[in-house]
C-alpha cells in the first residue's frame, strides 16, 4: 500500500474532528532539516544534519482549545492524535469561563517558497568546513587571540497547513546564518568580538556575500583593541547605537511589550506581562517624534515574512509606534477580538509541529530618519558608539532594561575616538525612547534576525527580524560592567 500523502493525512484528521462537533480545527504537518556546522579553536567541532518531522492538530471545541502532536506520521497515529486533541479541548471547555472567538480571516489557498540562488544544503560540505577553518585561521593568526569560533547554520521547513475553514497552505521555507568570534587575552583579562551575518531567508549567497575572511581580520583586530581598551567611567552619555545593537533593544523593549497576549496576562507566569496595557493604545507617548516602529511581516527575506502565520492569516504591515505614540499590537485570531480588532495582524507562530502557535513579535523595525551616521556622531560632545549584542536583561513588564554590546567607542567632541570596554547602559523603556533625537537615513538601514526568542510554556523559540538605521539617544546612564563598579 502506498504511504498516504500529507493532504490525505490532513483530510483524515480534519474529517474526524469535524464529526466531533468542534467549531474549528487545523493541522500542521512539517518536515524540517537543519544543518549546523560549528568550529572551535581551529577545528571543526561538530557537523549535525537533523531531520525533524511530525504533525500537530489544534481543535477549538465549545470555545476552548486542545492540541496534540506526534512525530509518527501514520494511519494509526493521525486519528489517535486527532481524537486526543478533541478530548483535550473538551476538558478545557469543561472549565472555560470565557469562550475563544476567532477573528475572521478569508480562506487562503497558496504555496509560499523562499527564493534563493544557492541552496545551502547543496553546497559541498568541504567548501563550508574550509570556509570555517580558514576563518578561524585568520582570527587566530593575530597574536593575542586565545580562542576562535565560527559556525554556519541552515534550515529548511516544508510545511502543510490545512484548516476546517478551507484554508490550504504549503510552505517551502529556507533560512541561514554564519558567524565568527575571536577572544583576546591581555593581562589576565579576556574580551570577545564577533561578526554575525543576519539570520535571513536567503540561500548560501548570504554567506558568500558576507565575506567571513575579511570580517575575521577586522574582528581579530578589534578583539585585541577591546581587551586593551580603558574601562568606561560611570556616568551619563549620549549613545549612538548601530543597527545590530538596536535590533536587540527593539526586540526586548518594543517587541515583547507589543505582544497582545502578554498585555492580556497570558504570559504572566513566565515571560511576563507588558507595560503597554490596552488602555494606552492610541494615547501613550512611548518615544520621541523620531521614533516610528513598524511591524512588517511582508518584507522579503525577513524571518517572519512567511506569507501566512500559523493561524493561516496573511502576513501584513502595521504601525506599533507612530511618531512616538503607541498605536498597535502583535496579535493572533484569538486575542485580536479582545481589543475590538476585526482581523488578526497575523503574528501567531509555533516553532515547529510539536508546539501550539502563540503570539510572537513581528518583524518590528525602526523607520529611518534623515541624518547620516556621521551627522548623528558630530552632534555628540561626550558619548559612546555601540555595535553588536552583549549582555541583556529586562524586567517582566519591560520597563527596566540593561544592555551591554559587542564593541564600544568613545565619542568626544563629535568624533569617534578609541575603543572602551565594560560598557553597560540601563534605563526605563519610555524614558529611553523619548531621549531619541535622531535616526540615520535609509542607506544605513540593516536587518538582523532572531531565532532563539524564548516564550511560552512549554518553551518555544520565535523567529523574527528587526531592522534599524543608527539612532542617537541623549543622556543615558552608563555603568561599568565589572567588579568594583
Amino acid at each position: 500500500m502506498n504511504t498516504p500523502t500529507w493532504d490525505e493525512f490532513a483530510e483524515l484528521a480534519l474529517k474526524r474532528i469535524a464529526r466531533s462537533g468542534a467549531e474549528y480545527a487545523d493541522i500542521r504537518i512539517q518536515d524540517s532539516s537543519t544543518e549546523h556546522i560549528e568550529g572551535e579553536d581551529r577545528r571543526i567541532a561538530s557537523i549535525r544534519d537533523l531531520h525533524d518531522q511530525g504533525f500537530g492538530v489544534r481543535v477549538l471545541y465549545h470555545g476552548a482549545w486542545g492540541f496534540a502532536a506526534s512525530s509518527i506520521l501514520s494511519l494509526e497515529e493521525v486519528p489517535r492524535v486527532a481524537d486526543l486533541a478533541v478530548e483535550i479541548a473538551k476538558g478545557s471547555a469543561s472549565v472555560a469561563l470565557e469562550k475563544v472567538r476567532l477573528a475572521p480571516e478569508p480562506v487562503h489557498r497558496d504555496r509560499v517558497v523562499t527564493p534563493y540562488r544557492l541552496d545551502p544544503f547543496s553546497v559541498p560540505l568541504e567548501k563550508k568546513t574550509d570556509l570555517l577553518l580558514n576563518t578561524m585561521e585568520v582570527l587566530q593568526r593575530q597574536s593575542g587571540i586565545a580562542r576562535s569560533s565560527a559556525s554556519l547554520w541552515a534550515r529548511r521547513d516544508r510545511k502543510l497547513f490545512v484548516s476546517t475553514e478551507g484554508t490550504h497552505l504549503e510552505f517551502d521555507l529556507l533560512a541561514g546564518q554564519g558567524d565568527c568570534t575571536a577572544t583576546a587575552l591581555h593581562e589576565g583579562r579576556f574580551a570577545s568580538r564577533s561578526f554575525n551575518t543576519p539570520h535571513l531567508r536567503k540561500g548560501f549567497e548570504l554567506i558568500e556575500e558576507a565575506d567571513l575572511h575579511r570580517e575575521a581580520s577586522r574582528v581579530a583586530d578589534q578583539a585585541i583593541e577591546k581587551v586593551k581598551a580603558p574601562a568606561v567611567d560611570t556616568g551619563q552619555y549620549d549613545l549612538v547605537l548601530d543597527p545590530e545593537h538596536l535590533s536587540l533593544t527593539i526586540h526586548e523593549s518594543c517587541g515583547h511589550p507589543s505582544e497582545l497576549d502578554r498585555a492580556l496576562g497570558y504570559e504572566a507566569n513566565y515571560a511576563g506581562t507588558s507595560f503597554l496595557t490596552t488602555e494606552k493604545r492610541g494615547n501613550f507617548r512611548y518615544g520621541s517624534r523620531h521614533v516610528n516602529l513598524v511591524a512588517d511581516n511582508t518584507e522579503p527575506e525577513t524571518l517572519a515574512a512567511t506569507g501566512y502565520d500559523d493561524d493561516g492569516v496573511a502576513c501584513q504591515r502595521w504601525d506599533i509606534i507612530r511618531h512616538g505614540i503607541f498605536v498597535g499590537y502583535c496579535t493572533n485570531r484569538e486575542v485580536a477580538p479582545k481589543i475590538g480588532e476585526s482581523r488578526s495582524c497575523g503574528s501567531n507562530r509555533a516553532d515547529g509541529w510539536g508546539n501550539v502557535p502563540i503570539v510572537r513579535i513581528a518583524n518590528i523595525g525602526l523607520e529611518p530618519g534623515e541624518a547620516t551616521r556621521d551627522q548623528l556622531i558630530a552632534d555628540v560632545k561626550r558619548g559612546i558608539y555601540i555595535e553588536g549584542h552583549g549582555s541583556y536583561s529586562i524586567d517582566q513588564r519591560r520597563y527596566n532594561f540593561q544592555f551591554g554590546g559587542d564593541a564600544f567607542w568613545l565619542i568626544e567632541n563629535g568624533r569617534r575616538t578609541h575603543m572602551l570596554r565594560e560598557v553597560i547602559y540601563h534605563g526605563i523603556t519610555p524614558e529611553f525612547w523619548n531621549s531619541c533625537d535622531g535616526v540615520a537615513d535609509r542607506s544605513f538601514r540593516r536587518r538582523y534576525g532572531f531565532i532563539t526568542c524564548g516564550k511560552g510554556q512549554p518553551g518555544q523559540s520565535g523567529w523574527m527580524t528587526h531592522a534599524a538605521a543608527p539612532a542617537r539617544f541623549r543622556q543615558v546612564q552608563v555603568i561599568r560592567g565589572e567588579e568594583g563598579s
Partner: protein
C-alpha cells in the same frame, strides 16, 4: 482519556532501542558508531486569568547517529523510526564524516560500563495525562478564585525514554519522568509565585504552593519605592538557585584551561564562603538524578565545591583526558549546603534580620562580565522590606549588579537545603540564606 502508559503509542522500550541500535551498528561501515535515543512524551495544561488557555500533549521520538572514520565524524538524526529512515540517517552521518576534516579532539566512544540504576520513572508520573493535569490546574485556579486572585501557571508531566549505544558494547537505557507546577498569583499589580519540579507528580504540593503564592501576592500590594543601593538580603531558595545556576554554568574546564573562565587559576582555592559545599547527589529522591549522560558516561555522586574550595570543573572528554581526569563528574542533581547550625525556616531568617530585602525570586539573570562572573537580573514576584524581624512592606522590584563570587563570600544565616526551581534553572536543593551585602543598581516602576 489517553495516559502515558504502555498503550499505543508506547514509548520505545529497551529491547526496541537495542534492536534499532543494532540495526545501525550492523550496517555501519564507520570505525565507531554511537546511537542515541530520546523518545519524549509530554503534556502541559496552561492557565491564565483563572482559566485554561492552552492544553497540549506532544510526543517526539528522535534517534541520532554519530559515526567516525578515524577522527572524521558526523551526526545525523531522524524522528522517523522506520528501517528505511534509520538507514538513511546512518548514510547521512557517514557522508558527513567522510567529508569532514579530522577533529584533533575526537575520542572513541567511552568503554562499556554498568550504569547506576535510579528510580527515574515514577509510575504515577508516567501514567499522568491530560485529566490529571487539568485536575491540578483546576485546584490551583479554584484556590485563587476563592481569594479573588488571578492565577496564571502550568501543570505539566513528561515521560522520556533515553538511550545510548555504541559499537564497542556500550549500552544504556533509562526511562525518566518529571512533573512541574508553577503559579503566579496576581492581586492587582502585586504578584506572588511558587513552583515545583519533581520525579513524582504526587509531590507537587499544589495546595501548599498555591496558598504560598496567594499569600505573597496579597502581601505585595502597595509596594514602596526604595533607593537602589547595597542591602542585606534574604534570598529564598529560588533566588539562590538562580545565582548558583550561573556559577555552575561557568565551570567549563576548557575555558578554564584556555584562561577564559572566571575561575581561571582558582582550582583548589577558596571561591566562596568556607562553609558552603556543592555536591552532585543523583540518588536524592527530591532531585532529578540520572543514570548516565548523553555521551554515555555514568552520573556520579561528586563534590564540586568543598567548604568553599573549588574542587571540580565540567569536563568534556578531550579536556578531561588532557588534564588526566579519569572520572568525569556530572552535575545534574546539585545540592548546596552550609556547614554549621541552620535555622528551621525562612520565617526565622526574617526574624533574625534587623533590616534587609526579602527576595522571592530573580528573573532574566544574565552575565555582564564573564571574567568576574558579574551578573544582572531583576527581583520578581515578591520583594519585601524587612525591619526588626518583620516584613513591613512590599517594595518595588530592583535590578541587581553583582557577582555571586562576591555575594557568597560571607553568609549571615541560612536554612537547611530546600527544593528550588525557577523558570530559568533546573531543579536544585539549596538553602534560603541571608547575605550581608547585595548591590541593587536600579529600580523599576512596579
Amino acid at each position: 482519556m489517553t495516559v502515558l502508559s504502555d498503550k499505543w503509542p508506547k514509548m520505545t522500550s529497551s529491547d526496541e532501542f537495542r534492536f534499532l541500535s543494532e540495526l545501525v551498528m550492523t550496517r555501519s561501515s564507520a570505525d565507531h558508531t554511537i546511537v542515541s535515543l530520546r523518545d519524549h512524551h509530554a503534556g502541559t495544561t496552561r492557565f491564565a486569568n483563572n482559566q485554561v488557555i492552552q492544553n497540549v500533549d506532544a510526543r517526539r521520538g528522535t534517534l541520532a547517529v554519530t559515526v567516525a572514520f578515524g577522527g572524521q565524524q558526523g551526526t545525523a538524526s531522524t524522528t522517523d523510526f522506520t528501517a528505511g529512515a534509520i538507514q538513511d540517517t546512518l548514510a547521512r552521518a557517514e557522508r558527513i564524516a567522510r567529508m569532514s576534516p579530522a577533529d584533533p579532539e575526537y575520542l572513541p566512544p567511552p568503554d562499556p560500563c554498568l550504569f547506576p540504576i535510579r528510580e527515574t520513572a515514577k509510575p504515577e508520573t508516567m501514567a499522568a495525562g491530560p485529566v490529571k493535569r487539568l485536575e491540578y490546574a483546576n485546584e490551583a485556579i479554584g484556590h485563587c478564585r476563592m481569594e479573588n486572585i488571578m492565577a496564571a501557571g502550568i501543570v505539566s508531566s513528561a515521560a522520556t525514554a533515553v538511550g545510548v549505544a555504541a559499537g564497542n558494547g556500550l549500552f544504556g537505557y533509562e526511562r525518566r519522568a518529571d512533573a512541574r507546577f508553577s503559579l503566579t498569583a496576581q492581586a492587582g499589580e502585586a504578584t506572588g509565585w511558587s513552583a515545583a519540579t519533581h520525579r513524582s507528580i504526587d509531590h507537587l504540593k499544589i495546595q501548599e504552593r498555591t496558598l504560598a503564592a496567594i499569600a505573597k501576592s496579597k502581601r505585595g500590594r502597595d509596594a514602596h519605592e526604595l533607593p537602589a543601593e547595597h542591602y542585606p538580603v534574604i534570598l529564598e531558595p529560588a533566588a539562590v538557585a538562580g545565582l548558583w545556576a550561573w556559577l555552575m554554568r561557568s565551570l567549563d574546564a576548557k575555558s578554564y584551561m584556555k584562561g577564559t573562565s572566571p575561575f581561571a587559576g582558582k582550582l583548589g582555592q577558596a571561591i566562596v564562603d568556607e562553609r558552603l559545599t556543592l555536591r552532585n547527589v543523583p540518588d536524592h529522591a527530591d532531585l532529578l538524578g540520572e543514570g548516565f549522560t548523553n555521551e554515555g558516561l555514568p552520573s556520579t555522586d561528586s563534590v564540586w565545591i568543598d567548604h568553599g574550595i573549588l574542587k571540580q570543573l565540567a569536563y568534556d572528554r578531550f579536556t578531561a583526558k588532557a588534564a588526566g581526569v579519569e572520572t568525569i563528574p556530572t552535575l545534574e542533581a546539585p545540592t548546596l549546603s552550609v556547614e554549621g547550625s541552620s535555622v528551621h525556616s525562612i520565617q526565622e531568617l526574617i526574624k533574625s534580620t534587623e533590616r534587609g530585602i526579602l527576595v522571592t525570586n530573580f528573573w532574566y539573570i544574565r552575565p555582564v562580565n564573564p571574567r568576574d562572573l558579574m551578573l544582572t537580573g531583576m527581583t520578581r514576584d515578591g520583594t519585601f522590606l524587612v525591619e526588626k524581624g518583620e516584613v513591613v512592606s512590599a517594595v518595588k522590584n530592583f535590578r541587581f549588579h553583582e557577582s555571586p563570587l562576591r555575594a557568597f563570600q560571607r553568609l549571615s544565616a541560612w536554612t537547611a537545603p530546600m527544593e528550588a526551581v525557577n523558570s530559568e534553572t533546573g531543579k536544585m536543593l539549596v538553602p534560603a540564606m541571608v547575605l550581608p551585602h547585595v548591590h541593587f543598581s536600579s529600580g523599576t516602576r512596579f
